[in-house]
Amino acid sequence: MNKMPETHYLNATKGIKSWLTTVDHKRIGILYLFSIMFFFFIGGMFAILLRLELLTPSELYIDSDTYNQFFTLHGAIMIFLFIIPAIPAILGNFVLPIMIGAKDVAFPRLNLASWYIYMFGSMFAVFSLVSGGVDTGWTFYTPYSTTTSTSVISMTLGAFILGFSSIFTGLNFIVTVHKLRSPGMTWFKMPLFAWGMYATALIQVLATPILGITLLLLIIERTVGIGIFDPAMGGDPVLYQHFFWFYSHPAVYIMILPGMAIISELITAHSHKKIFGYTAIAYSSLGIAFASFIVWGHHMFTSGQSELAAMIFSFLTFFVAIPSGIKVFNWIATLYKGSIAWTTPMLYTLAFLFLFSIGGLTGIFLGALSVDIHLHDTYFIVAHFHYVMVGGTVIAFLGGLHHWWPKMWGRMYNETQAKIACGLIFVGFNMTFFTQFIMGAKGMPRRYHLYDDVYRPFHAFSTYGSWVMAIGFFLMAYYLFRSLYVGKPAGDNPWGALTHEWSITSPPPEHNFESIPITEHGPYDYDKVVAKSTFTEK
């Protein structure tokens, strides 16, 4: 049986103050873990409430105005407070520096500042929630957002502030990857997780300011009455959508690239096989980062933009699928003839491959101009982006969380319960969202409170699915918390993986490494090096 190390980053210093003033990247990761998961819970509660209301075609327990507020808060919280920061700020912070053999990120104080800014920005979101809510949808489209009486300003201000937190993290990671790699860790010996984080950071730094400016312009129009988007004042409402999606399409890659980064790690570590196509995966991340900037107009095919622009955007959109396709094929090739271990992280990885492929391919349908005219603003869209964001990013995040959990806390969760939860989430997710593809294609519009009776069976089934998923999440919360107290010590390397973080104790020492680690083998040299697993159930 393994023993926990005597001192580690969790008990090196004690007391609330030592946490609130910490500059240790691992502790900041943990601070983020708890705050982001809190908002994930709030966002999730709104989701369950929305699905409950949609159980019947007529009003069940909330009126239409409340319904509009609920889906706005659900969307805005999930996007700005959960999915954008989740992987970089939690797992990236915790793992990235150790992976590349560094003692911390390049700017530890900036790192802590980013957490405080996150908390500050989220206060605005909470404030808008209690001070009348917002009912514009997470996209804040004009002209409605400049005229509605709800708390648009505080919500957008919140998103504006959160943007800075995102930029700080991105900036930190870029410099860390450039400057703090340990001896022998060349660019092409870096774990692919680091590549993914790097590509994400580039988009964060380049794209987030655009969101800031957009929201600021919106606030200026609302408060001072300077015409930017309002045609009555010489503005152009479609221009708002250009601004918004010039940020938000790249932002969907801020969401998925970290997920892909995790999958590249899990798929090799849990099949003990060298990654197939390392360079292709690394470069495709950069390819995605670039291509994501030139396709935004595919969200605007029916907005009244010029036909010429719509054609150009439709054409360009097909290019973004190529790098994603490259990755998926390389991951599958990695599995081929690997010794696949049926661990929880591996189950999540397989779920990701399955769900992300559906999400990505339906994106291609939507990118085809003519098809999108029919599908735009229906439940088909809702299903598409949930397949990529939940089926892709959230599933990858959960896989990563289960993979690095024993490293974070030094203890293992109950694997049987974890597999059951994973199964519930997978089944529940497909129940909830696959039905939405069908009803969307049949014409059920999105963001509607009341609907025609013909869609009732689909909506009801979808709602049942959301309950299955919720049970899975609650089970997960239960066994993860429980593992902190009664989990068996995991040992340094429970998965027998080769990246740097598994060569130090779990939980890691305060300063990660006693001496500067030298990179002797590649991160995925499973054909040359054997690392033994330090953990067995019995």
Partner: protein
Amino acid sequence: MTDNTQTNEPHVLPLSIYLGVGSILIFLTAVTVYAASFNFGEFNLLIAMLIATVKASLVAMYFMHLKYDNKLYLLLFLSAIVFLGIFIVITMFDTLRRGDIYEIKAGAIRDAVIYDSLHITPDAHALEDSLSISTDTTEIVIDTTK
């Protein structure tokens, strides 16, 4: 730690360069003000932007040290401008061509004038009649006879 890009020593420039660049900036500001007293018609904007670009480049090159630093930083800096260019150019494929098929889609943009609630810009009033826009009521009257 590997440091394969550059040395970490701060690069110190002689004071004269700072003062020199500073006075060029002040001079160019004067040029901007002076140029504003002429009406070059269409070229007004172009000239103002040209001077501003030169000034911004000077600041970036000398005060922000991009001229002396690793060229990677210059690349990062320029990439921001490239992306801004992409944004503006592709958006213009929309805004300039919106009326291609249906005239009505171009309305709001074609008729747009610089909005000025305080009526300081003389042009806004001149445009008022020709474009059927009332600057007083913020209301658009679509002229269907045109």
